[in-house]
Symmetry: C2
DNA sequence: AAGCCAACGTTGGCGGAGCCAACATACCAT
DNA sequence: ATGGTATGTTGGCTCCGCCAACGTTGGCTT
């Protein structure tokens, strides 16, 4: 039928997606969760190239910025639950990207350090992540990008502060 | 130590949250997923007042807008996987909010209808959802709200279209 | 008419993210 | 000394988004 570079049309080939109902398309929370889902997909595949998940990056990034910290503090800074911190740190420690060390002044606490290897890994993850950000924001010009960040920051700040 | 209307300070009372690392705070995908998480919390609790989840609303809304449709079409319009459609429709059908009917012209298909009770329930859910939207967008003025919707719509459209 | 491929509904499963409850241990103020 | 509370840890849960497989049915091709 057609030349090789034409797109073959098969009567059995249906549209992979269909128009989204207006009720959803105009609901801010829906727009938010759907774009977030796309962002998560991009980030997940980006981090997966280095066998990491979101929690791994978040913890390494938090550690690099705050310095050695207890697991509870890590949780508060990164917004990850204490129990999830444990599992994620286990992963990171198994790969020697992080070190748990007993706090001599408080025997309940572990002081968690990022290792040099962890620092290097974070650099790789950061690079992969930066690329994903560009892909995500591709359709937006610089002005729109800043505007989006501003608006999201407003929402996040408002809903995070206890005194709302 | 102070009067009753002062906020009691206890040395054991730590901040429930702590400053988020800049690396995260300035990452668009992080802002997106975190605000989406807040939105999901609001929507989830709003829908929970009527014992519904996101998928239930999405299907009812889609049905109301497109009219009777096959499960596959419902999936394409709502962005929900075929297998999840089955489970969600089971819930809705159990509560008589939806009716499955064999398609006489294609015995593979079910034609799904929304019942009058389903229409009424959708109205309730919509109301709960609208309130949640207001709570979510509280810190934004009308201009910013439209701007946010515009930007998210841009992202969503870009990443949904097959020809990216 | 036969054969083949595709779509349909359904079952069962998976992983990530965000939670919560409970517990033993350790700290600290009273 | 006692009681309240923070810490790390285990185990469990829900929601959302996916994927693989299977039996059935439809429809195009030859």
């Amino acid at each position: 039928m057609g030349a090789a570079n034409e797109i073959a049309y098969s009567p059995h080939m249906e549209q992979p997606s269909a128009p989204t109902p207006n009720r959803l398309r105009t609901t801010p929370s829906w727009l938010l969760t759907q774009t977030a889902a796309h962002a998560t997909r991009l980030v997940t595949t980006a981090l997966a190239t280095r066998h990491a998940r979101g929690y791994h990056y978040r913890l390494l990034a938090t550690l690099a910025e705050t310095g050695p910290a207890s697991q509870a503090d890590l949780g508060r800074h990164s917004g990850i639950d204490r129990s999830d911190i444990v599992a994620t740190l286990n992963d990171l420690a198994d790969r020697h990207l992080v070190r748990r060390q007993a706090d001599p002044t408080d025997r309940r606490r572990n002081i968690v350090h990022i290792t040099p290897a962890g620092q290097r890994e974070l650099t790789h993850l950061q690079h992969a992540l930066d690329t994903a950000q560009d892909t995500l924001l591709a359709p937006l010009n610089p002005t729109d990008r800043h505007e989006l960040v501003r608006l999201l920051d407003l929402l996040l700040t408002h809903h995070s502060e206890p005194e709302g």
